[in-house]
Every structure is written in C-alpha cells, then in structure tokens.
C-alpha cells in the first residue's frame, strides 16, 4: 500500500478484528468492474446508514464483540476435535453473527452473514440463550447418567478415591465422544462459518468507510478513461490539520487529458499539495474508496508514479539527482509499454543546474506528450512551457496582488495571501517572480532580500 493511503487507512475505525484484517488486505484495483462494484457496495452501506442512523451504534456494538476465531476455524479438519474453549469461541461467534444478521437481513441481504441458527442450536442445546458453554448433559443420555453417579460418589464421606478417579475417566471419554460429534457437525458447516467471518469483516470495513465519507464529505468518483476532472478537491490530512488551527483550506478544481500538463507557480503556492492530492485521489479510487472532492471523474490507471523531493535517495547511497533521474527513467520505460498510468513529477530536475534542468524538463514533456498516460509536471523554470497539442499549461494564481502591502512577517498566515487555484497559462505570459516576496513574508533577514534585489537589478 502506498504511503499516501496511510492517513486514509489509519483514519478508518473498524469495530471488529475481522474488519481490521480486511483493511490490511485491501489491494490496488485495475479492473473497472471491481472498482465499480466496490464503490457501489460502499454506496449501498452509506445510504443505508444515512437512512438508518440509529443502526450505526447498534451494528458497531455487535461488531465489537467478535473475537478472532480464524485460527480455530483454520485448524479444523475432520480428525481435529475442538476443545471446550474452541467450542465456546465458535458459539460466541455464531451468536453474534446471528445478532448481526437479525439487524440487517431484510435491508442488506447481500451483506448479511449466512444463517448460523443450526450451529447456535447445536451449541446451545437447552436453548438457554446464554453466551457460555460446557459439554451439556443433554448431549448424551450416557453422559447424564455418568455425571449423576459422579455426584453420588462425591457426596460420600470419605470419598472413594478409586471410584471417583474411574468415573472421571469415563466421563472424560464420553465428553470426548460428544466433542467429536459436535466437531464433525461444525466441520460440515465450516464454509458457512468462513463465509460469515468474511462477510462480517467486509461489512465492518464498509461501515467504517461510510463513516469516513460522512465526516470528511468525500464523493463517489466516476470512471472515465478520457480525462481527469475534479471539482473542489482537497487533501483531507492537510485540511483537517488546518481546521484544527482555525485556518481555512482552499479547495481547487483540476482538469486534464492524456498527455502532459505543466503547472508553474512560485514557491509555497501549493504545487506539491496539488500533485499529492491528485495521487491520493487516484489511489483512493483504485482502492475502491470515495474521494475528497465535490466531483471527480477519473481514468483507471495501471500504476501511479509520484516523483517528489522526498525520494529516499540517501539511504541507498545515491545523490538526490541520481535517485531522481533513475526514477524518471523507470517512469519513462513504463510509459513506453503503453499502459495507462498517472505520472506526477514535482519540480522535475530540481536537483541539478537550471540550464540542464530546464533541458531535462523539456525533454520529458516532449517524450511524454504523445503517450497515453496522464503526466502532470510542476516546475518553476522559465521557458519550459510549450503550446502544442496534448500539452496543457497551468499556473497557480499565487499571491493576491491587492494584499501584498499587508504582508509583514506573518509566516503562519501565509495562506491568506495566496490564491491556490489554477488558471490557464497563456503563451507569452511570464512566470510571476514572487520568490523574494515570499521570502519577505517568511521574515527573512532584510540584508538577503536587499542583496538579491541588487543582483536582480543588474
């Protein structure tokens, strides 16, 4: 699973151990049918919970009671006899599985665990409806008689130790016969039990996804291989952090088609966040999740590549440029296979000199523009734009010009002075030079800014 999904996954709150297992095993889906099915299933549970909000806590309460019986079920084979503890666990599981089924069997038939009434009856032969277990005397007339005899022996004073030892042995043997019968019966139903186990985990997973959708305002993405069109997208992790500090998150729109999209803009204007959010949204959709946007129409990709400044180059002993260019190579090789992928390159060639760096950016734009992948590249190099078919040029609006006079050492509130939305970058337009203004907001020593301006003047 990618790091980007980590925040989303950690934010899910499953109530049962099966749900938590389900989360661990989610996979990146590449088939439209599977993604659509997962999204549709999520929608069914979401709508059910929206219409029956009182059910959420009820279902979660039941889900919390499940204990992991996977190992117990797994060990089963006809020769294996369950011991009393295992029989108790199975009974406990079946009782709660039945409770869950009662709650949803009418409205959510497809998500409901199978009927396990017969196993509950098997393990609760007296119909006591108590969540406990022992080898009940009703299982065998012989056992009942043995136990009565044992009771009599125990009542004698002094106890006849030999008789007591013998009767205990006979009782154990008879109990084992009962255990064997119970185990065989359970084994005959093992597939139903495993089915229940999986259904419960999946339901729990969908419930936690639905809760996340409701609390974060995610929306159901539409699959469309021709374009990426997102309205009011946001990065939930950053948004939630900002909101904790009473800051507002500016949601933005994005549109691109196959080929290359170039985003230019000054530092600190959110280009990296755009790429990370695009990667997150694409990932979420392909893991079958709703996405953080008001509307999203997305293609299905074979792979998502994210080239960013935080490549783990130092660990492998590579220079940052070497690590970057090797990754670029990997991306390009993949794009030659004609498999559709989402390629996100943040500040491509940032780690080398501007002269050659610019050339590398231009080269990549030219090589990727005719591939069937979606390549989105950010850069603040001047003059890398190109206005051909299959290339889209954006720039971040950037500093709000009318507000620049208010700017003084307010690094924490920098967001207020920036408009993060994207506008089409027209031919002949110059990238606004805002590095020094930003530096000023960050309260950089006046000397540095003055000197830089001096050299800029030259």
């Amino acid at each position: 699973m990618t790091d980007l999904m980590e925040y989303i996954i950690n934010d899910l709150e499953c109530s049962s151990v099966f749900g938590r297992k389900k989360i661990k095993n989610i996979t990146f889906l590449k088939e439209e049918e599977k993604i659509q099915k997962e999204l549709d299933n999520t929608e069914i549970i979401l709508n059910f919970l929206k219409e029956n909000p009182e059910k959420i806590s009820k279902l979660k309460e039941i889900l919390m009671h499940f204990k992991d019986i996977y190992r117990t079920l797994k060990k089963t084979s006809v020769e294996n006899i369950f011991d009393d503890i295992e029989l108790f666990e199975i009974k406990h599981f079946c009782i709660f599985s039945e409770k869950l089924r009662e709650e949803i069997k009418n409205e959510l038939e497809n998500f409901s665990p199978p009927n396990l009434e017969n196993i509950v009856r098997l393990l609760d032969p007296e119909g006591l409806k108590i969540n406990s277990f022992y080898i009940y005397s009703v299982y065998s007339e012989k056992l009942k008689n043995i136990r009565e005899l044992k009771k009599k022996i125990k009542l004698q004073s002094p106890i006849d130790e030999t008789a007591f030892f013998e009767i205990t042995q006979i009782e154990n043997e008879e109990e084992n016969i009962v255990r064997q019968k119970l185990s065989e019966e359970i084994f005959n139903n093992i597939e139903k039990l495993i089915d229940s186990y999986e259904k419960i985990g999946y339901l729990d997973f969908l419930i936690s996804k639905s809760e996340q959708i409701i609390s974060n305002n995610f929306s159901k993405p539409i699959i469309d291989d021709s374009k990426i069109q997102i309205k009011q997208m946001f990065n939930p992790e950053i948004k939630n952090n900002l909101e904790k500090e009473n800051e507002e998150y500016q949601k933005i729109d994005f549109l691109c088609e196959e080929g290359v999209t170039l985003i230019t803009g000054a530092n600190m204007t959110g280009k990296t966040v755009i790429l990370k959010t695009l990667a997150l949204i694409q990932n979420m959709m392909q893991y079958g999740f709703y996405v953080p946007a008001e509307y999203a129409s997305l293609p299905i990709t074979d792979e998502i590549f994210m080239l960013s400044g935080d490549l783990q180059s130092i660990q492998s002993g590579l220079s940052s440029f070497a690590a970057e260019i090797l990754f670029v190579n990997k991306i390009y090789k993949h794009s030659k296979t004609n498999k559709k992928s989402l390629i996100l390159m943040d500040e491509l060639a940032r780690n080398t000199n501007p002269h050659e760096g610019k050339a590398i950016v231009k080269a990549m734009i030219s090589l990727l523009k005719n591939k069937n992948s979606f390549s989105i590249i950010t850069s603040h190099y001047e003059g890398v734009n190109s206005y051909e078919k299959n290339i889209k040029n954006y720039r971040v609006k950037g500093l709000k010009k009318d507000k620049t006079t208010e700017i003084t050492g307010s690094y924490k509130h920098i967001a207020k002075f920036i408009d993060y939305s994207l506008v089409e970058f027209k031919q002949g337009e110059k990238i606004p030079e805002e590095a020094l203004t930003i530096a000023k907001i960050l309260d950089i020593d006046e000397d540095i800014i003055k000197k830089a301006k001096y050299y800029l003047g030259n």
């Binding site: 204990k67 011991d83 503890i85 406990s132 022992y134």
Partner: protein, 338 residues
C-alpha cells in the same frame, strides 16, 4: 471484629505470602471456606504465574485450590484444561499469558484448580471488573509473595498476609520478620494538597523546598547520594522517592544529621527492601517513612505446620505474634471459621 465482617465492605482481596511456601494456599482455601459458609458469591483469580509454582508449566504441581460449586474463576487455558470438574466457560481473553489465554468460567461442581492470571496490573484490574459484573460479592486474588510489585496496594481493596512455619522454624525469627513486614505494610499514608502533582512524577527523587515548591534532587537515585553537595536537610524536609528504597539508602540516611526532621515518602510498601535491623536504627533515630498508597491489611494468617511435617506450637505462635502486631492473627488450621 471477625474476618468475615471485614470482608463485607470490600470488593477484592489479595492473599499474599510473606515468602515462598508460607501457606498462602491454605489461607486462600480458608477464606474460600469462610465465604462459602456465609453464603458469599465470590470469584477467584491469580496474579500472573506464581513464582512458587513455576513448575506448574511442567505439570508437576497438582491443582491445589478447592473451588466450590457455582464459583467464577479466571485461569489460563493450560490450567483450565487440567481441571477435573465441570465448568461453564463465559469468556476467553484475546491477549495471552505465557501459558495461554485467560479463561473465565463458572464451576458446575466442586473441584481443584490451579490458578494463574494476568501478568500486569491493568489487565488484572480489568479481570476483577469483569468478574464483578457476574454479580458476585468479592473477588479473591491469589497473590504472589509480598514484595512482588504486582501485589501493589492499588489493585485490590484489601490484603491478607500469610506467614508460617514453612518460612522459618525458629519462632522468634518468624515473629520478628513478620512484624517487620507488617510495619512496612502499615506505614502511614502521606497526605498533602500537593498529592495530585506528586503522583504524576514518574521517576527520580524530589523534595519540597522551603518555599513549598516541588524540586528535583540532582541525582537519579540514592545510589549516587555521595554526589550530593549538601546535607539532605539543607534541601528540604520532605523527600519523594520513585522506585526502590534499599538497605544502602537507609544506611546512608542513618548517617545524616537531623533525620528526625525529615519525612521520606515512597510509592507503597512493595518498594521498600530493608533489613529489620537497619530499619530499626532508622526508626530509633526518629526517621519518618510514609507511603503514597497504603495497603489495607485486614489479617495475618499463620500456618504452624511446615511441609516437612514439623509443627510449631500453634497457640504460642498465634499469641506471640498477636502481641507484636495490631492486625488480627488467624490460624488457618483452626477448625473455627469466623
């Protein structure tokens, strides 16, 4: 006041041996009989896997606690499976001890059981809570030996200390050591409006200075006391020690001036490891030692018989010990249950 009256107001009781093989099991069986006779519903569990019965893992020890019919108990999976009586299982823990998960069950006939239990304080508290949910009056905890920290006072409402001939056949020695332990258990509780902030301290040695402020002493433990530049009394008059108080600590303190003006405070009695003689010098010099958490010691039990069969004069033992301590002394082999 009889023991049974004292049990009325408490919800959990641990039974702790002063040393290994001091008749803890006999005491537990005595309390079980007493509760049964008075129609109490009670539960049984243990602290961890008792140091006395490590060999239980190898199954050499026989089940020893007599459990009456309809009694809830919590023990580990492997000990549960060794029992020879019918029991209804009510829950199985998710976590596991070194000898399996913990099973909570109700006995459907009387029988013998080996008790084992949670190996940490919070888990044990949870087990006690869960048992009390089964509408029982009191939970008995088969404790470890008195100095193990798991028998810390904040787990159960009250405690019984078991001592006996197995511990020492020299009656005077037995009485002297028991008296010493009882003195430590009964140390006065420290009271102050600063308690909430004091209890938050996790480690180190702290003191209240002359401006009533809590300060940290510039040494990590009294093992480093020689590094101190001043006499203790020059820092303050109340010292809080997180962690253990050893013989060396008291030997050091006993050399200090004006110790009769200083109060030392330790978490609870299980943190004190001091020989009787050294501690007595401390007391004679006017030293004051208090605890943050006081154990409610409701009785001391004596078992005058050692496993080897040798027996002390039971009446003399009980009476001599009773003269020395102000906690009721009970002879567990007395037929008289009260």
């Amino acid at each position: 006041m009889c023991l049974i009256d004292k049990l009325k107001s408490i919800k959990s009781l641990s039974i702790v041996g002063i040393e290994k093989n001091t008749g803890k099991t006999e005491t537990l069986n005595y309390v079980i009989k007493l509760l049964k006779k008075n129609n109490y519903d009670f539960g049984l569990t243990s602290i961890g896997i008792d140091g006395e019965s490590v060999d239980q893992v190898t199954n050499t020890k026989k089940p020893n606690i007599l459990i009456p019919e309809n009694t809830y108990f919590t023990t580990s999976e492997s000990h549960f499976k060794q029992k020879q009586f019918l029991a209804e299982i009510f829950s199985v823990s998710e976590k596991s001890t070194s000898i399996g998960r913990l099973v909570t069950a109700k006995s459907l006939e009387n029988g013998k059981i080996l008790l084992s239990g949670p190996q940490n304080v919070s888990w044990l508290k949870q087990i006690i809570e869960n048992m009390l949910n089964h509408e029982i009056d009191i939970v008995l905890v088969d404790g470890a030996i008195s100095r193990l920290s798991l028998s810390s006072p904040n787990i159960t409402d009250a405690m019984i200390l078991a001592t006996g001939a197995a511990f020492s056949l020299n009656m005077n020695e037995l009485i002297k050591k028991t008296k010493h332990t009882v003195t430590l258990i009964n140390l006065e509780k420290y009271e102050s409006n600063k308690l909430p902030s004091i209890k938050k301290i996790k480690e180190g040695i702290f003191y209240i200075d002359n401006n009533e402020e809590i300060k940290k002493l510039p040494i990590e433990s009294f093992l480093h006391f020689r590094k101190l530049e001043k006499n203790l009394i020059e820092y303050g008059k109340t010292f809080f020690i997180k962690g253990a108080l050893t013989n060396n600590f008291f030997k050091y303190i006993n050399t200090q001036k004006n110790i009769n003006e200083i109060i030392f405070v330790v978490d609870d009695y299980t943190k004190i490891f001091v020989d009787t003689d050294v501690f007595n010098i401390f007391l004679k010099k006017g030293g004051k030692l208090k605890v943050l958490e006081k154990t409610n010691l409701i009785a001391v039990t004596v078992n005058p018989t050692s496993p080897s069969g040798y027996s002390l004069n039971k009446e003399t033992l009980k009476e001599s010990l009773q003269k020395e301590i102000n906690v009721p002394v009970i002879n567990v082999l007395d037929g008289d249950l009260k």
